[in-house]
Amino acid sequence: MSVLLIAEHNNKELRPFTLNAATAASHIDNDVHAVIIGHNCEEAAKALSKLEFIKKVIQVEAAYYENFVAENFAPVIVKLADNYSHIISSANTFGKNLMPRIAAALDTSQISDITKVIAPDTFLRPIYAGNAFATVKSKDAKKCVTIRPTSFDACESTGGSASIEKAEASEEFSKTKFVKREEVKSDRPELGTARVVVSGGRGMQSGDNFKLITSLADKLNAAIGASRAAVDAGYISNDHQVGQTGKVVVPDLYIAVGISGAIQHLAGMKESKVIVAINKDGEAPIFSVADYGLEADLFEAVPQFLEELNKLNTIQK
């Protein structure tokens, strides 16, 4: 049977991890359909129909789908589920919020945050903050799976020509009302997909000092990350948190500045290709995962780093 991918979007555009989830879905079966639930989401539905791997798009529209309330989305998917062996979404806050609601309604034991499809019923997933990996096999007839986006390549956004079908909306769930969303707008690369990430930790000592991180990120065309300690201390907003309960990033280059490297933080970044750690405590656990460790006072090292980069002038964009 076919695989149903739940598209994530903002009613105008697809959110980037939809492309990674499409790839993961294609590892399970060739016949991947995608459902897009939203309000005036024509453009996003069209973009979805052009993705590599997608054979059919199902578009479901209603005003109350505008803000992605899981209580409204779940019944739509449950109604479609009869025709599918697998339901797939990303294991980001969108999919984490939604998928268990679907799985419970289908009486299926969900498999969260997979990093590999071993067989259509067998998956690899990290447990204990990535300090162990479990190979798990689902015995349920229908499988609800969320995928770790950074473990699957984004599919091509062109080349597909799926048909777009409309399906009926489900009843509105009136006991949950969306109030507002405060998104942090930025011209920087997205943390989850950036080629370079510069992260600051408790060692930054203040929100003001985070300017050093910003300058370095500007220079490297990087996204800005942070440890939980830095977010808790109010140095930077929550959407920058990297770690077990924040975001998982796998950039080509991860620069950890003033981050000690608690296992909960390492869980979110230790798969990065090249890791740099700048910390004045030579015993900090971050050095155990760093390819290049610099034991130094960050308030001296980061300005020097900027100077050296200025000399190079060959930063890859």
């Binding site: 969108f94 299926t108 447990i127 006991k175 507002k180 969303r181 942090v184 309960t245 780093f305």
Partner: protein, 249 residues
Amino acid sequence: MKILVAVKRVIDYNVQIRVKEDNSGVVTDNVKMSTNPPDDNAIEEAVKIKEAGKATEVVAVSIGEEKAQETVRKALAVGADRGILVKTEGVVEPLSVSKLLQKIVEKEKPDLVFMGKQAIDDDCNQTGQMLSALLNWPQATFASKIEIKDGKLEVTREIDEGLETIEINVPAIVTCDLRLNEPRYASLPNIMKAKKKPIEQLNASDLGVDISPRIEQIKVEEPPKRKAGIKVSSVSELVQKLKNEAKVI
């Protein structure tokens, strides 16, 4: 208003876990166990709401082996009024946990159910959402702020893009983020008092729920080890290595 708080006993967050040699799981013998960290936030929030005069009773429930009683006892020591332990053996998947919690909710009739957003052992992040689906209640996941307003809750949720605020009717489920509050430590007198608070013990089989696993754990392995790195002595050496050796800038 009555608040039910679900708490899970897990390997302490500071422990570096080890995979068993036969790859059947992780070593739990003689390992320090604690309350799942965001469950501490869930208890704290419930107790704060009660202290503010907006709740009349806080009930802590745990599902797990006999020793999970310690986790319930800790919740009682920080201010929960009474406890429930549903005894189970072996792995209990989030779907089963939510079915057991559903039975407890039907019996206890709480107005709110709080729990951590994720357990730090299996990292599933499912139970709260599943319970709300089974009860057809509203869900507010990843909560970093909760305000009670005329029988409704206004909840700020941490999402990938920033923050989202939703308003939900009671009864409802809230899953708590670590930033929701600062959990208190239990004082010695309160630990002593907690010993006298009642904990009702039930067996999962008494609740008439099939909790047999649907997922077979084939093996558990260590993650691939990173190649040992080097220490550089200066920023210019670092930049040279990044440019010429790693070729990432």
